[in-house]
């Protein structure tokens, strides 16, 4: 049943409505508009048909994004679980530690990884000292994915933690009581019940990973440009707003499809946490 909005409600809601129109709906409209027009404003499909030349970049972005998301999940799940097993006090501390890197600027964090991974960087200096020799790390796909995992890991840990910390302890005890060992309880109780957190985490890591641009430039050295880099180039260097917009549009649609797919897989009544 829908409630009719009173005048008061409308007044209170209006700033948010204005905000959404100005900063969400209008930009979306412009993305669509630019995608289907030429620089002089005439309708065209060229921007869309031209996208074929970016297929490799699209695929690479999705591939890197998927890899980074899976690695994040594998790392974050045990971390989140371990956090929930500690006392309330240390839970707070550990959650704060997880978020701590986010207090620093994203660009600075990524830049620091350059200094760490470079051939003359901290790790390689250490390797040479102990006689392993230089291991080339920067400007590899691995470095790019590492950057993604490092930057987006908290977005996986936090929703997982939030779901797991709300799990009813007596449900876990009931499973134990009925003969379930640790493995069974993990498989049959904890993982299924933390699905909403997994779904949120996957989305929150995958979306920024697919569309990131700075990480790939700094840690990939330009050899592994992602779709975000291409969009940035079209807008910042080539001033081709129309092509940039059409790439953005396709990226948005791709992300939307991925999310629908994810939700299909993990949906239950409780929905996602974030």
């Amino acid at each position: 049943m829908k409630k009719k909005l009173s005048i008061g409600n409308k007044v209170v809601a209006s700033p948010y409505l204005l905000w959404s129109i100005l900063f969400i709906i209008a930009p979306m409209f412009f993305v669509v508009y630019y995608s289907f027009t030429t620089s002089s404003g005439a309708f065209t499909m060229d921007n869309i048909t031209e996208l074929g030349k970016f297929t490799d970049t699209f695929l690479r972005s999705i591939w890197f994004g998927v890899l980074a998301t899976i690695i994040c999940l594998i790392l974050a799940y045990p971390i989140a679980y371990i956090i929930t097993q500690t006392s309330a006090n240390s839970q707070r501390t550990m959650v704060a530690l997880v978020m701590l890197p986010m207090w620093m600027n994203f660009l600075i964090r990524t830049y620091s990884w350059m200094a760490i991974l470079q051939d003359t960087g901290i790790i390689n200096t250490f390797f040479r000292k102990i006689g392993i020799g230089t291991v080339h790390m920067i400007n590899t796909p691995g470095a790019v994915i590492l950057g993604m995992v490092y930057n987006f890991l908290p977005f996986m840990i936090l929703p997982l933690y939030s779901v797991m910390s709300k799990l009813d302890k007596s449900v876990i005890e009931a499973a134990q009581d009925l003969g379930g060992n640790r493995l069974t309880i993990m498989q049959k109780i904890i993982i299924p019940l933390s699905m909403p957190g997994i779904a949120s985490g996957l989305t929150m890591v995958f979306v920024p990973s697919v569309s990131t641009f700075y990480i790939s430039q700094k840690l990939g050295g330009g050899s592994f440009d992602l779709i975000g880099d291409v969009i940035e180039g079209e807008f910042q260097q080539l001033y081709n707003y129309n092509l940039g917009a059409s790439i953005s549009l396709v990226l948005m649609i791709l992300i939307l499809l991925c999310m629908v797919f994810l939700n299909k897989f993990t949906s239950n009544e409780e929905g996602m946490v974030i």
């Binding site: 007596s170 449900v171 005890e173 009931a174 009581d177 009925l178 299924p192």
Partner: protein, 374 residues
Amino acid sequence: MEENIIIDLKNITVKYGDEQVLTDMNLYIRDKEFITLLGPSGCGKTTTLRIIAGFLEPNSGEVIFDNKNINGVPPHKRQVNTIFQRYALFPHLNVYENVAFGLRVKKLPEKQIKAKVVSMLGLVNLKGFGKRNINSLSGGQQQRVAIARALANEPRVLLLDEPLGALDLKLRKDMQVELKSIQQRLGITFIYVTHDQEEALSMSDTIVVMDNGVIQQIGTPQDIYNEPKNAFVADFIGESNILDGIMRKDLYVEFSGHRFKCLDSGFEKDELVDVVVRPEDVDVVAADKGMLRGTVTSVTFKGVHFEIIVDLKGFKWMIQSTDYQAVGTEIGLSIAPDDIQIMKKSIYSGTFGDYSSFSEEFDELSDASEEGEQ
């Protein structure tokens, strides 16, 4: 020691930090009996249950199951199953899968699982509910699923932690009868935890009254009610008038300024004792014919009887009588020898049994706050 003892707790002590939850507890439980741990919140009854289930290790003491020490054996390897206070059903599984959980863990063949689940759902009157979602069930139905799920594992002992606490009165009464009949039909041991004395009295073979981590009395419901060991038990189970008395000699006790004949003996001469008289055991007679005389200060109609508060030289008695007495009338009280229960003085002496501050509202309030706690 008796032959058919299934669980034996020996010198169990549990501490949470500085707080002593169980103090040197000794309790044995016979096979196939319905035993109830009864006491107010925080008395250690749930802790005792968790020790038997294996969720909690005692700081000291032994847990013996079937003549074997099971200290340190994890819950999933014990032949006991638990019905949790808030059911703890698996929200992501339907009714069928909830009941089948333990059987699947045991990796039984599908056919056997199906037969067992169907028979368990039949046992708890939930035939045809298999496909239903847990969240679509009422509290009573969820409770039944929890029972079926625990019993499907064919435990030797079923532990029930205030299983009916969340149900309304009518449903609770029905489930009491049902649980008792399930216990008798299956012939397994039930260890039942509750703070509801009426529930304990009507269902149990044996009642264990606990307070402050110490067992106060163990006995049959009749024993506990008729011969409470101390003022705590007398007050906790049913209503009681508890008075200070002096044991003049065997079979004679003096209280409220009158010497009564009683059935108790074995006390020192002139030993100070607590005397319990149940409200329903006091006979109201004409003022001049009674052993004691007092003034009625309040009358409440309770349906079956009137609850009458009588002032006897400052001490207020509660009396239950089918005859109405007007407030202000002077009445006589008469008490038969077998209605007087003498108890040794204990730490609880003087804390219970006077109805001066008695108010039903207050009683209900304290009941409500009790339910909120664990």
